[in-house]
Symmetry: D2
Amino acid sequence: MPTPPVPIRDLADLRLRLRAFAQARDWDQFHSPKNLAMALIVEAAELVEHFQWLTAEESAALPPQKKAAVADELADVLVYVVRLADRLDIDLLHAAAEKIARNEAKYPAESVKGSARKYTEY
Amino acid sequence: MPTPPVPIRDLADLRLRLRAFAQARDWDQFHSPKNLAMALIVEAAELVEHFQWLTAEESAALPPQKKAAVADELADVLVYVVRLADRLDIDLLHAAAEKIARNEAKYPAESVKGSARKYTEY
Amino acid sequence: MPTPPVPIRDLADLRLRLRAFAQARDWDQFHSPKNLAMALIVEAAELVEHFQWLTAEESAALPPQKKAAVADELADVLVYVVRLADRLDIDLLHAAAEKIARNEAKYPAESVKGSARKYTEY
Amino acid sequence: MPTPPVPIRDLADLRLRLRAFAQARDWDQFHSPKNLAMALIVEAAELVEHFQWLTAEESAALPPQKKAAVADELADVLVYVVRLADRLDIDLLHAAAEKIARNEAKYPAESVKGSARKYTEY
């Protein structure tokens, strides 16, 4: 019988869970940032694979089984994002806050809104 | 003068920030899950690019400027992970908890530990 | 003044050109198959980036400048495909012929045709 | 009994074979450049997956079975490169020749050679 999942409270909790998981298996030796970046993009591609032949509309209305598979792949990507950030001692939420601030300066809502056509050039 | 970043408390906060950001710019029309998956892997590749010619050792000892650039790319990936989960109404931490439970069953620490050679087959 | 491009006759010619290019620069030391696979996917992502916000229809009707940029990225991908095959002593056209034969057996035209709906499950 | 592969002579032959394959199955409807770019990067990631936990040295000395699997993935990437080029009417060898000419101007052998350390900045 599978163990019921232990809930994860937040990113910090996830980071510690993944760290313990790797250490218990002696896997840190494989988890160089270089290798983790490769693993991350492999999982990102498994996500892309679910969408490659769908129209935009179909991709927004996934049947339950497919949605569950996509959730699983998204979790895989998140796992490697968090693991890589841990190995490099990067604060993800801080980095995201800085990124959003830069994007707000770069794409002011008032001047961008409605210029849908030019979105593809950003 | 750039606005100082508004701190992000957790993934739920990040989700709302990104949702507001897209809505203020009328960008939801571009953010189909299909397109977001593409944007996610493009950002993942920008991360990979930083590591492609480095040795494993070099990748674990990045100079500060390079580390900051990697943090920036990781934030980009996280942003699209969260955005895509929001569009599909997926609970990321729940999905991660389920994934970890499955991996714990699949790779029991006691039998996996030390069998480094076989890691590449997982 | 830029040198006019020396025409490339075929894949074998391209392989030799790329080999000479790397050797003249002492770059073989960086061109492990692992690193070349990373470089290949980075170029693939630069290709994807051109299409990420386009509709399927827009992607089939690129303006000339964008089409030239896409051609450039496709060339980059091809370059790494050929370089990686060379480093591993793989005959690309032979591998492609075997692949097509397997796909012909896997997806018989008579039974697949018209079942467009199921394409996404292949 | 599987059909023996029909040899492929060159890229032009491969292009025609792939075009006929898609037409016989009525698959052109799925092969927008956008979708083909997604399929291409998914195959590139399957290639990366073979290398993600290997050292550079291991990646250059693959056992036969693994090498055959890598050849298969490389063929998949090539197939989508050629298919995408066909859909966009791009001459791959011409694009590659132009790319190499630009790279020769950008990285003159005499000044680049030996500056291995700076390769990572290119």
